[in-house]
Point group: C2
Chain length 201, copies 2
């Protein structure tokens, strides 16, 4: 017999996959229920609304990205500067896999939802903003370590980490618009330059 | 008596403003008609569908951004490197004005629509991609001029322009998610670093 946890998780997985492939507004409760194989009554037992479900989806995506993407990209098995490159390489391989399977480049699930919903739902906007700020932390720690090891000049690691994260969101957006993962590899190579003080006249 | 052109333009303006403040999916033909003060029959006389109207909105936004944003930011009245900074300063002042009026930071109308619609509508995706690639051109020309004047080291101006444009989209996305135009000013300062070759160990 299926547990309550399984049903709730199936609803979350369906919403996550359907919204990632399309958008928040284009995916309704009825379609999520059909995809998850649950009745509407069961849906509303777990989630008062699509918005509450979306907040639960974001919580699980947050955990996934912290552990599986940021945690692995910025693991200390390689020198700090190389971890930045690994992060961008992981964005490339992740989006390449999605494109190979679906024919489409979905981009960043947080960035997509932020663009669509930030002016329309404060709870969703704030949760994504919280994730963004948390995502900058391992980048800042990595830059600090690189400075301490003499691999980078003296920079502001927090401001530089924010610039690198914003750049990652930007190249994901442009790659989605071009529907071409190569954009991520080509532009990802520029990311490290964001942390080097510019010397122009 | 109002001309046909006026009616068509009023529909375009309403769609542009409503979608920019919210999203494509959350704004329907009925609301656009109400806002523009036209009957549905009149709407469908001009546009077969909301999608066709959106393509017309994008064409007008394209003209506006080329002339009023890119054209003015990259005008040759100041040294080339300073034009890059002026472009980012214009993003900051534009979004600050929107925030001051509406209480919300709307971000980039092209980037928003690209995130929401790229996997759902090929015509919309391709039109935005076309605009993105055109927007990179004045940046590349400015970088080339800076190199020729000795203000920048030898770089690939086309690749660097793409990086700068993607960075602009990224900081607009993060600023929208934080609902804070200051993000644009703080992170905009890093943009020039994208064109300086990184020297890390």
């Amino acid at each position: 017999m299926e547990s309550v946890t399984d049903t709730r998780q199936r609803i979350i997985n369906s919403a996550r996959d359907l919204m990632f492939a399309r958008s928040y507004s284009e995916v309704g409760v009825q379609e999520i229920c059909r995809d998850a194989g649950v009745q509407k009554g069961s849906f509303y037992h777990f989630f008062p609304s699509k918005r509450d479900l979306t907040l639960a989806v974001l919580d699980q995506l947050d955990t996934y990205f912290r552990n599986e993407v940021l945690g692995k990209a910025f693991a200390k098995d390689i020198p700090p500067v190389q971890r930045i490159s690994r992060f961008f390489e992981m964005l490339y391989s992740g989006q390449s896999a999605i494109k190979a399977e679906s024919g489409q480049l979905y981009g960043c699930p947080f960035g997509n939802l932020a663009c669509e919903m930030s002016t329309q739902d404060e709870a969703i906007r704030k949760k994504i903003d919280h994730f963004f700020q948390a995502a900058e932390q391992p980048i800042a720690e990595t830059l600090t370590e690189a400075m301490e090891q003499g691999d980078l000049p003296a920079i502001d690691p927090v401001a530089s980490a924010r610039a690198i994260f914003a750049y990652a969101e930007g190249i994901m957006l442009v790659a989605k618009t071009r529907n071409d993962p190569k954009v991520l590899r080509e532009l990802g190579n520029h990311a490290l330059q964001l942390v080097i003080p510019a010397t122009v006249s």
